[in-house]
Symmetry: C2
Subunit: 168 residues, 2 copies
DNA sequence: CAAATAAGATTAACATGTTAAATAATTATA
DNA sequence: TATAATTATTTAACATGTTAATCTTATTTG
């Protein structure tokens, strides 16, 4: 019985499920991301920020004031989430809204003075953590990982566009 | 002015922030995961399952009945989330609980007949998607990506243990 | 120009992530 | 053995992810 089962394998096919369903690609990416986030979250929490709130502050500091739509795009957040996040940051006066001339639907989100201050206090810590990761893992490997991740996204997005265009 | 600024760069140091804060490691991992999940989520949704609910069903199918603790570990879910998820799956009769002799705190989570049936209907689609990703991205690159992700987690976990042991 | 459409943003409703607190059963210890 | 500490799980409270519905303002069109 066993020999018959073995005989079917040697075809040198790659297994249908690389490593069963556990250790699947989504799972591996999730684990990796969690491991990385564990490095950053504690210092954010000291300052009372969630990772998403930090993303927003960071984006505003780097790219300046933005309408919600751009901010959502840059922070990779959906509008409903961002809407709540900005309300939160606004209540704590880390950001404010500035009217846009000619369109009353939209407004610019602006990083306040205390928002900038918060950024200045957190940024060095994040950078330090980042350097530590680079040290630990190796600069070359990290670059390679970036490239692979980017290419993976590109390939999957290509396919997505194909499917989209077919249904149009 | 400009020449002075340029003169400080050539030290051949790698930039402190690989690609600014955008395109950071957490962000890249998130984007990659989202891109991958976009492949799987639609078919899950057809069957009324979230990715997390699917993880639970998958784990039960693969590893058999488990106490909640093991299930949480295998599915990479925190207990409060899993607790709610199992309640949901229980209400829909995809799983049930079986008493454990000798410990009334814990119970085994069991995949029901309709749970197994659901698995059988979804699994082929997932496998198909997975194969498509492998095709698109390349088997070798995928393996390389797995290795890098695993090693990243190992390295960061090592560091974590160091920090933990210091504080004990 | 008035009605229909579209665009930007928010709200609603539900599922999950996350930390802390609560509950109940079990084990360890004085 | 009564009590304290531990273990397994759940609940609470708040933030986010996600889809659909709503609301307001702009734009398009008949």
């Amino acid at each position: 019985m066993k020999s018959a089962a073995i005989k079917q394998l040697p075809k040198r096919e790659r297994p249908a499920n690389l490593r069963g369903f556990d250790r699947s690609l989504p799972m591996s990416l999730l684990r990796a991301r969690e491991a990385v986030m564990k490095e950053f979250i504690p210092s954010l929490k000291e300052f009372g920020l969630t990772p998403q709130q930090w993303r927003v502050i960071r984006s505003l500091e780097q790219h300046g004031e933005q309408p919600l739509g751009k901010l959502a795009e840059n922070c990779f957040l959906l509008m409903p989430s961002l809407s709540r996040i900005v309300q939160n940051l606004e209540a704590r006066e880390f950001v404010s809204r500035k009217a846009v001339a000619g369109d009353q639907r939209s407004s610019m989100i602006v990083l306040s003075a205390s928002g900038k201050d918060l950024f200045k206090r957190i940024a060095p810590r994040s950078a330090e953590r980042y350097n530590r990761i680079t040290e630990r893992f190796g600069y070359g490997k990290l670059e390679l990982l970036y490239e692979l991740l980017e290419e993976l996204v590109e390939r999957l997005d290509d396919e997505q566009e194909l499917l989209d265009s077919r249904s149009n």
